[in-house]
Amino acid sequence: MSPLLEVEDLVVEFRTERGRLRAVDGVSFSVDRGETLAIVGESGSGKSVTALSLLRLVGDAGRIQAARATFEGVELSGLDSAGMRALRGNRIAMIFQEPMSSLNPVMTIGEQVAEPLRLHKGLSRREARAAVGDLLAKVSIPDARERLDEYPHQFSGGMRQRVMIAMAIACQPALIIADEPTTALDVTVQAQILDLLKTLLRETGAAMILITHDLGVVARVADRVAVMYAGRIVESAPTRELLAAPRHPYTRALLASSVGPGAGAKTRLETIEGQPPDLARLAGGCAFAPRCPLVQTICHGAPPPLRSEGVRQWACYVDV
């Protein structure tokens, strides 16, 4: 069976004051049905733009191009804006970082969660309201049916994120794109939300693209990981393999500088020297070369192609 989502050679460029800036530079990946793929990277790595550009959510200044981007067998670039709208919030749903700014403050919770059902499934007001009660109960909002007429400000941060998740699963999407869904939440609530997401994915069979900077979140929920640096995927592998034995020097450095539970108190951390790259001033060659501890002459030539070994891929000239 073909993958649920298949993306080949995705390029996203933005026009800026400083010229054209390539935020995503030839990214290819696929997501199988029911699978959770984490896209990991630091600020500016292109991880959010990669996922959001598929739904044309990157604004007018962005130019999106891909050799191929198919979802459920349909080429996304062939969709007109009505076709894209029919997809968004329906077959592909989204969850964002900040539920307060993604919820409409002057609409009741009940109306908001009902919106995708009324829009995509043509439910009547009454049918939608009943369905919303079930959805909110499903995401473990206490007294869900009594709270339909409340407004977002009456919900806590964790409860608002539960509302976002209820909206996302309302139309039984095949794919959920979750962009830093727990980053704004407290650690005890973050764990609850991740567990909820994982349970719902298992129940509904939906796939997820999880965009995050946090390898701890990846370890908790992802089946597979793609690590991005300066607009490219530098390594991808099943989560367990990647965390146990990273191949790319950037992945290794990222793991080493994540303060793990094993790190002793008051010892120096391993760091990645230097600063993240400036996308407007990338030299040729591997973008990580200026910070790489294993850098060689060849790294400054052309960007390293992806190497494969079984289910693993990484882009590095050096054998580690």
Binding site: L215, S257, A265
Partner: protein
């Protein structure tokens, strides 16, 4: 008054209350949020004391009160033996030279219209220290100390990345040679690779300059790394205070255990449906539950917990914990068979 053997900072029963205004024209106080409600701790010279907790627990308010940037409603604060809780502004100014701050967001805490050399020199100007030439030299030294190239002094903040801006904030904080630096979520906005650089810098500076840090953070992994001692705060109270090693190896308070259980780790085998995830969220400090403030979420609560508020008490290990069940072997072994956070760890 000064006692070089005593603690650098001593906080006794600190209280900060925020009135909630209501009624017609909002002129009447209708409720009080006890953001900090009887917090006591000490920081020794050259050590890092961290306060960790979730949003709204009062950790930042505690820091602001220590700096006297937030009026207090009770308790006392001693800096180097001197009670600074009711100092007159002139004397307070002298004390403030010795305590400086690094904030979370290096994008909003640096004036975008000032050159960074001037930003770092500003505390020296405000306190009338040196002349233009000596200040320039001091700025160069501070920049080098914090890993910045001194010839960048004429640039503006927008030319720097987040990590470099935090280095600028640290250089500014060090200009007056403080003894205590309050770091309020100082690395929380930074990317992982840059965060490690700044943590290393803070630890290097502490060794070289003998600084004490009051480190405020929600991030347990960071706290574990940088701290000598840690206080865990929940709804305006410290619920546990202990040496960092001890706190992470053998947490005593159920809330500390839950925090540790919830913290993300790189361990793939500890991923799903694990025991110890707390239910619910921290209640509002406006209306804390009676008795122990944690009782509404506590997995091991007993009847007494919703009536009596437990005080911080000393443990044989040297740590302090505010829990009726602490030290009670029977209660803990009973809890161990239930879904106590981290009990099987």
């Amino acid at each position: 008054m000064s006692d070089s053997n005593g603690p650098l900072l001593k906080v006794e029963d600190l209280k900060v209350h925020f009135p909630i205004k209501g009624g017609l024209l909002g002129g009447r106080t209708t409720a009080v949020v006890r953001a900090v409600d009887g917090v006591s701790f000490e920081i020794r010279r050259g050590e890092t004391f961290s306060i960790v907790g979730e949003s709204g627990c009062g950790k930042s308010t505690t820091a602001m009160a220590v700096l006297r940037m937030q009026p207090i409603d009770g308790g006392r604060i001693f800096f180097d033996g001197e009670d600074i809780s009711s100092l007159k502004p002139a004397r307070l100014r002298a004390i403030r030279r010795r305590m400086q701050t690094v904030f979370q967001d290096p994008f909003s805490s640096l004036d975008p219209r000032m050159k960074i050399g001037d930003i770092i020199a500003e505390p020296l100007v405000v306190h009338g220290i040196g002349d233009a030439r000596t200040r320039r030299a001091r700025v160069s030294d501070l920049m080098a100390l914090c890993g910045l190239l001194p010839d960048m002094a004429d640039r503006y903040p927008h030319e720097f990345s987040g990590g470099q801006r935090q280095r600028i904030s640290i250089a500014r904080a060090l200009a007056l040679e403080p003894e205590l630096v309050v770091c309020d979520e100082a690395v929380s906005a930074l990317d992982v690779s840059i965060r490690a650089q700044i943590l290393n810098l803070l630890m290097d500076l502490q060794r070289r300059l003998g600084l004490a840090y009051l480190f405020i953070s929600h991030d347990l992994t960071v706290v574990r790394h940088i701290s000598d001692r840690v206080g865990v705060m929940y709804l305006g109270k410290l619920v546990e205070v202990a040496d960092a090693q001890q706190l992470f190896a053998a947490p005593q308070h159920p809330y500390t255990r839950a925090l540790l259980a919830a913290a993300p780790t790189l361990d793939v085998d500890r991923r799903l449906g694990e025991p110890g995830l707390l239910k619910g969220e921290q209640p509002s400090a406006r209306n804390p539950p009676p008795g122990c403030r944690f009782n509404s979420r506590c997995p091991v609560k007993v009847e007494r917990c919703s009536v009596d508020e437990p005080a911080l008490k000393m443990l044989p290990t040297g740590g302090q914990v505010a829990c009726h069940l602490a030290g009670s072997a029977a209660a803990w072994s009973a809890a161990r068979t239930s879904d106590l956070p981290g009990a099987d760890a």
